[in-house]
Symmetry: D2
Subunit: 281 residues, 4 copies
């Protein structure tokens, strides 16, 4: 499995979120506490949108490498010099597929970015039929061999551009139906983040009702408790939010667990989360 | 495109064939003379079968890396310490797909090994239908995103285990038929080597009749002219052969061009080559 | 040897300078015309200073990799999303030392950045005494095994902080003296760029008077001729300059060769260049 | 710190020793039990001598990579296809120096091979003087930035060719003297293995008397208890030995801890170990 982090709100230096907290994602790459594996050393990725909306074409930058995050100097350099209002970071623990750049998260398609922790049960057996359900125009965009990438292209196929929670629900529904047709009792296990550059949607769901952990930060003043000396975090907007596989540190009141079968958004839209359940495709 | 080399016959230290000739495959990785590109620096691979047939399970060892061959120290170490009666080496120049280990040659399936120089025209457009024609039981073995790997699994699907030239002919026939259905005039361009550990088959074919170069060595005494001081090459059996994308050096009489639309075998079975043409799958 | 590029002036997206010109540095990594080697595929690096002088600590970001630049996806991503008023880029062709990150340029020490094309003749023989001349407090900062890195720390030792041309002259003078003491007729061959984040100094010098090529762009309106459609290049300040190992394209009037034994600065300070000669340390 | 393994005795397939035991070195790269760090993912290396003494020049093959051992496919391929009577394997957990090939163990100089777990305290501060004590003729062979490599070249400088325990003792003595001159109370912490292709010497020593763990296998029949089904291990010679940072599995009677301040040899020369103490250089 893996660990990930999504940030949305006031622009910050990625370093402040990615490296500085006591139990940062980089620390989690070596010492995960809540993950299936302690070590998440099978590659990593970071993807960020530009600060100025008028810059570039709206596509995020995506930098991925096959080595461990903890020792990667280029990641550290980038984090220390790039400021972004919305970014993803992911450290990977392979569930069997190759350690190669095209299997590292986040994945990108146009302005969309996607990352995942979890698995489709018996993926090698289901892979062909899952790939066949991807829009033929998108098929050749699949570069790697992971379930996560196929889930992304299925969600795009099922209308991510029009309705994010709906498309993810139809993807999940399709995976579950197909898995069950092949005798898989619990086909899907996922915590997924997806973004179009303006908003992050984060989903926590599993067929068995025992999803991997997912947390969201409460109001930014509590985030500041993570490292009170950081001037950069002083002026975060009220709707700034972090969504993480596991808390970046211990202060009470900062982190809320996202319940089973829900999704959240960041920047916050007021309500904290909404129910999520698979739909027929 | 790429450059490759296949050796079969008396066991030799790979170094003697791979590094020592004046215009070795390693030299070709930087300074190819006959290739589409001068530089073949998008990864490399070497695959070898064991000397003793009773050792291991008959599967070849396959070592592949994404960096250039010319500077790879591990390749040099392996070549200097591994002796083999049958091995492949390949230096890659990507035609667009990612530089990742799973896109590097040779590919392996059980005891079979495959490498390729060439391309399926408009592969991104044809990829989905080509993948669908692969035996569903093999689909999940596809790890990379190249045409070469799909060609391999199509050949396995079409009976490589029973009839090598027939299976390759059916693969080529299928690619051509599918390409033409999609309006591609010249769908296939290939020089391919395949082995089961006992024999190498090497094919030169293109839809347009303008295939990339392919050469085979004549009798081993001429091979020795490549580097007459190498004691190790003194005792090669008569049927020892090298098949190469381009000659490893200039001595006259060593290299014969394999004609358009033919295939050769090594170790030599007496006749030099036989005609090859695509067949219906 | 290597190829490099230094930019200083109005902030631009690195992509516009690094990838878009017809004979960009990325193209030069595969197809150098004036370099000692056609291929510069033994690693690369890019280093940039932030746009806002109030951001960070004034240290440049330095991203280096051991693979070839031409196929590196992360470099492309960074170039497309990072805007900078002063940056270096370098593609490496090793003259023998290992292909490892710590041998890739640019090198960094505090706010200083350094890159080099050339060689110290007989470096393995002189390496120990060169290293001994480095300020002992800096010795442990040497991470790699190249002459270029040692030249950098010698220049820092000899006062880069106080007087850039003077420190580089003393470094060159020391190398020449030491070389000649060891019987080396022409000890030094260099084109070097160094920056503190506000200015770039670029030196062209060799003991033999036959230095590798180095060019600087004339006024920015001529730079725009490189790719007239790029809106981003429309508003460059008058003092914006590019200094490059070889021209990024062919328009007449854009590029001026820096003469043997001179150095130039960017952004332009009015005069184009000044004489450079080694000094005693 | 790191974990390592040295094997000497009857030729075996490296896979049988490196991958197959329950708590193999590969498993230790992810789940070390006795190491300072659980994860040893900052590169790895394997070095082996040829089976036939008449093959090659007596130099070992050394393959090193910067990624984690646990996911490296090439290492697995090599281990499955290479048989050797004497080999080293090492998984690295960096104590601060860069993750680069030239910092990975084993190191090689001529027919000698060296690997290390431990550290020289305050190495950055002592590095220059340690390097200066290396034979000037060897200085330029230092490619990386680790203490381990400098320790190796110091041992070569101090007579490894003539007297292995003596040269290692003088290296340790020199490190301790230099460290103490600089106010370091406990300058050295080491478990070291060194080989010339015929024999392995393994040392356990630390200035504080609290060395990292080191174990040697007792007679080969007990080694077989590690995986009784392996036919390949049935015919090991009586003097075959494994020396390891931590046991490869739990059977009682297989592993003996090497006491503090001793060294052992493999193949076994009869006595199990001898005392080791630093000597003046």
């Amino acid at each position: 499995m893996c660990r990930w982090l999504a940030y949305a709100g006031s622009p910050v230096l990625m370093d402040d979120v990615l490296y500085k907290p006591a139990h940062s994602l980089i620390d989690q790459s070596l010492h995960s506490k809540l993950g299936v594996e302690t070590t998440n050393g099978d590659g990593f990725g970071v993807g960020w949108y530009a600060c100025a909306s008028d810059e570039g074409d709206g596509e995020p930058a995506v930098v991925r490498e096959t080595g461990p995050a903890w020792s990667d100097r280029n990641l550290r350099e980038i984090a220390r010099h790039v400021r972004s209002p919305l970014f993803f970071a992911h450290v990977r623990a392979s569930t069997g597929t190759a350690t190669q750049q095209s299997n590292c998260h986040p994945f990108r398609s146009g302005r969309w970015m996607w990352m995942h922790n979890g698995a489709i049960t018996d993926f090698p057996r289901l892979r062909r039929e899952l790939c066949l359900a991807v829009d033929p125009a998108l098929f050749s965009s699949i570069e790697g061999s992971t379930d996560s990438e196929v889930m992304f292209y299925l969600a795009v196929t099922f209308g991510l551009d029009q309705d994010v929670p709906g498309a993810v629900a139809r993807m999940a529904g399709f995976v579950e139906r197909l898995g069950r047709e092949h005798g898989v009792e619990y086909p899907l296990q996922m915590t997924v983040a997806v973004s179009d550059g303006r908003r992050v949607w984060a989903f926590r769901y599993s067929s068995r009702g025992q999803s991997r952990s997912l947390f969201y930060s409460s109001r930014p003043e509590t985030v500041r408790m993570l490292h009170p000396n950081l001037a950069l975090l002083r002026d975060l907007s009220d709707d700034t939010r972090l969504i993480v596989s596991e808390p970046l540190g211990d202060p009470p009141g900062v982190w809320n667990e996202l319940p089973e079968g829900t999704f959240a958004m960041a920047p916050s839209s007021g309500s904290d989360y909404a129910p999520f359940r698979p739909a027929s495709a």
